[in-house]
């Protein structure tokens, strides 16, 4: 999830405020595939990622691309509008009630000494690692991946050497959306979905990505881990309801002392 945001921001430099909403779309897709075809969310994440890829590609190519060179607040507005539309379309289509699915391993857990580890989460984490690895390989080893990284480094330079930046951006946004799609599907194995949960996840993804370093993929993973740990520790040591405060505190600290994130590269 955070990975998707990282990819999108790192390259396209558009802050995707509709991120959480896109994720709920993916969650509903997973739900539909599960109820209709009994497809396990960890399996359905492949087609869902593909669908979200197309969605993201079209969103970027059709809507966002004229905004690339506009100021941030303009992009922000656009995505807020997109988010509003998505949430309420979901409300109309699926109703407001929380919907969940039960897989065979929903209630499994592994015992590791004193620790009880949630099976669904382990599988989801595994899937997340696979997705992350695939993404990493894509950016590192394929020609398109390299071209995208070139765009991220230098927009005008990329234009000059004749890269089709618009197409690459759309591709990137699609990829980011695909990550979100995969994340949504995985999450479906762990929690229930309602149309209104999107914004909380957008915010969480922001916190994670910025902590780890915008545009850095290992950073997104590290950020996720760190935020998870901070929240858990904050919850154990103080009152659990205030645990997100610790996540925000961490974010503030990171922003102040290392604005580019823990693993982010220094902005030129």
């Amino acid at each position: 999830m955070a990975l998707g945001l990282s990819v999108i921001f790192g390259v396209v430099r558009v802050v995707n405020f509709a991120h959480g909403e896109m994720m709920t779309v993916a969650m509903y897709l997973a739900l539909m595939l599960f109820t209709a075809l009994k497809l396990d969310p960890l399996v359905s994440l492949v087609p869902i990622a593909a669908v979200l890829f197309v969605f993201g590609y079209l969103l970027q190519a059709g809507l966002i691309s004229p905004f690339i060179n506009r100021p941030e607040h303009s992009q922000f507005m656009l995505l807020v509008a997109v988010a509003l539309i998505l949430v309420n379309l979901q409300l109309i289509a699926f109703g407001p009630d929380a919907k969940g699915i039960r897989t065979s391993y929903s209630f499994d857990s592994f015992k590791l000494g004193p620790l009880v580890v949630d099976a669904a989460k382990v599988y989801a984490a595994g899937a997340a690692l696979v997705v992350a690895a695939a993404l990493f390989a894509f950016f590192r080893f394929t020609l398109t991946g390299k071209a995208i990284r070139a765009c991220a480094d230098n927009y005008h330079g990329a234009l000059v050497v004749g890269l089709n930046v618009r197409r690459l951006y759309a591709l990137t946004f699609g990829l980011g959306a695909a990550c979100v799609g995969a994340a949504g599907a995985m999450l479906m194995a762990v929690i229930d979905v309602t149309p209104a949960i999107g914004p909380a996840y957008t915010l969480l993804a922001f916190v994670i990505v910025i902590t780890g370093g915008l545009g850095s993929m290992p950073g997104a993973l590290l950020g996720g881990l760190l935020i998870g740990l901070t929240e858990a520790l904050g919850g154990v040591l103080f009152t659990p309801s205030a645990k997100s405060m610790f996540a925000f505190a961490l974010l503030v600290l990171v922003l102040l002392f290392r604005p580019q994130g823990i693993l982010g590269r220094k902005a030129a």
């Binding site: 941030e72 607040h73 205030a242 925000f248």
Partner: protein, 345 residues
Amino acid sequence: MIARLLEGVPRRGLVLLGLLLAALVVFPFFASGYLLTVGFLVLYFAYVGQSWNIMMGFAGQLSLGHSLYVGLGAYAAAALYVHFGVSPWIGLSASIAFSGLAGAVIGFLAFRFGVAGVYFAILTIAFAEFARIGFDHFAWVQGSSGFFLPVANYATNDLWNLRGSPTMFYYLMLAMSAAAFVLCHALVRSRMGYYWQAIRESPEAAEALGINVFRYKMAAVVISAAMTSLAGVVFAFYYNNLFPEQIFHISRSIELILGPIIGGIGTLVGPLVGALLLTGLAEGMREIMLQLKVDVPGVKQVFYGLCLLLVVMFLPHGVWPPLARRLGLERGGADGAARADEGKP
């Protein structure tokens, strides 16, 4: 003083402004309670939009956490009133102090450590969220169970304690919006206003011209925060209940900046136009849905979202600049985006 304020404002603009003000003043005499409520909302959003605009429109600092200042202002005045019976007019100094201080802290941290652009925006969100969760655990103001102000009768308008009818609140908000408008007008044409705009356009060049960028950015944040907190005071005494979940929520921050963005960032009239359009649009949508007998929750918001989308796509500078051009008001002062290409060779 007045003459200087009016200087350079085109006649037509003045006439139109006068008409608008007159219309707003007589509005309650013709409006039903419903329209009055809507009118109050318009003015409320125009006011907070104007306040936010100082930071974003003039000084170019994107804040996505302005609900922080609304909330702090609301809680400070309300708590003083409930716990000590302090009149909101005195309490608002505490509101201004707290919000200004919060703004100063955020500004200081951000500008000292060079947090800018998107990062700054996210920092402001982080602080607002921080406050939301913090206030959820702040027992003196009842935490998340909500802070209720005693509701007195509505027969008398007690301006001193801000207890009274919606009409009173409407005029209060009108006065505040008008004051904010005049203040912003004066600010933008002052030395500070020029400096802010210079910083917005290019901080490096501004520095090279001897502008202490840090100090002026701080001023923008503090002034904006303090002004916003006043809206919080009114909010508290108008609704008489405060919930951290609502008042500090990021959706409220977004709500309050939609107006100026739609209306036209960096313009004086933009926040008002934006608030008018958005509130009108929202209410109009409901009306249309009602007429069409569509009772599906969510449809209205979808259309609302679509309208927003169209505006940002086709009017990148907001509604006001092209509208001003149409009305022949381009040179409306030093404010911003719409400027005629007069004197072109």
